[in-house]
């Protein structure tokens, strides 16, 4: 659907000059695009409106477009998420992991649960000093049948997440499982909260840093990519 701004809205150059003391400057296009993963990652069911959500049907085509766009050379993924749907989260993480263009993730605030695979799926990951990541077991929603198969199914689903994280970060599988099932740390759940440097020390995230470090790393990866482009056409 196409739409137009309201005429005489505060968008006119004159109004802007009056309100902000500035006028429209010609805008350059960035060779680094940023993808923000905020709130709940929404999957197959639409969540009630009080949830701020990131929808996979928006993000996945955006990633395809970024991979194809000739002017985009790198992608910065900014995470402040409380997790969400396992399938949608893993879909985004797998897409990020299989892009040919350099990707750097930056965890700000929180990158909990399914936010963990998204953060580690990027080629290089950063976490700010104060950001946290919660690692805890997956729970089933909806009807739960009390049979051994339910447990096995859940275990299988959990393994999908664990395997992805282990494959894309420096953490060992036993270590990640230990963090996931640790008791006595969370008030309402079992698991662990990793704050800033702790996430780096256990090998989950590559480095502690902010926007400056993340962009510097992305530029470095872009330069490497320019010097030796990936073997398949981008």
């Amino acid at each position: 659907m196409m739409m137009e701004p309201i005429p005489e809205a505060k968008t006119s150059a004159l109004a802007q000059m009056r309100e902000m003391g500035t006028t429209v400057v010609p805008q350059p296009r960035s060779n680094i695009h940023c993808l923000t993963i905020v709130g709940q990652i929404e999957g197959h069911l639409v969540l009630p409106p009080q949830n701020k959500t990131t929808k996979y049907e928006h993000v996945l085509p955006q990633l395809v477009a970024l991979e194809q766009h000739p002017e985009v050379e790198g992608i910065l993924v900014i995470l402040n998420t409380v997790g969400g749907d396992v399938e949608a989260g893993l879909a985004i993480a797998e897409m990020l992991a299989s892009l040919s263009k350099p990707t750097v993730s930056l965890v700000l605030g929180g990158g909990h649960s399914i936010g963990v695979p998204i953060a580690v799926g990027c080629r290089y990951s950063f976490i700010t000093e104060t950001a946290s990541m919660t690692i805890h077991p997956i729970r089933l929603t909806g009807q739960v049948i009390g049979v051994p198969q339910t447990w096995e199914y859940l275990e299988k689903m959990q393994d999908r997440v664990i395997k992805f994280v282990v494959r894309h970060s420096r953490i060992e599988e036993w270590r990640f499982r230990e963090l996931m099932f640790r008791s006595g740390e969370l008030a309402r759940d079992i698991g662990t909260v990793l704050v800033g440097r702790e996430a780096v020390d256990c090998g989950l995230i590559d480095e502690v840093g902010g926007v400056r470090e993340a962009l510097a790393k992305l530029r470095e990866l872009i330069a490497l990519n320019r010097a030796s482009p990936p073997p398949f056409p981008t």
Partner: protein, 71 residues
């Protein structure tokens, strides 16, 4: 459906008021617009990946927009 989140599920599934939101393109940029009345709406979120789109004053969340006739 598997939700992997530290948020209590009763909070996630709590029923709330449903605002009508539509995905639109304004100056070629995807934006999420909340319909506020007949033919008009308010920008809720910019869904672009180009960081410079976020500097465009016409795309600031809260900015009012008109829907074109017949759309």
């Amino acid at each position: 459906m598997l939700l992997y989140t530290p948020l209590p599920l009763e909070l996630v599934w709590e029923e709330g008021k449903v605002p009508i939101q539509r995905l639109c393109f304004l100056k070629g940029v995807p934006v999420l617009v909340e319909v506020t009345g007949r033919g008009e709406g308010k920008i809720v979120r910019v869904l672009a990946t180009d960081p410079f789109s976020f500097l465009d004053v016409a795309l600031t969340p809260g900015q009012k927009v008109w829907f074109r006739e017949g759309e």
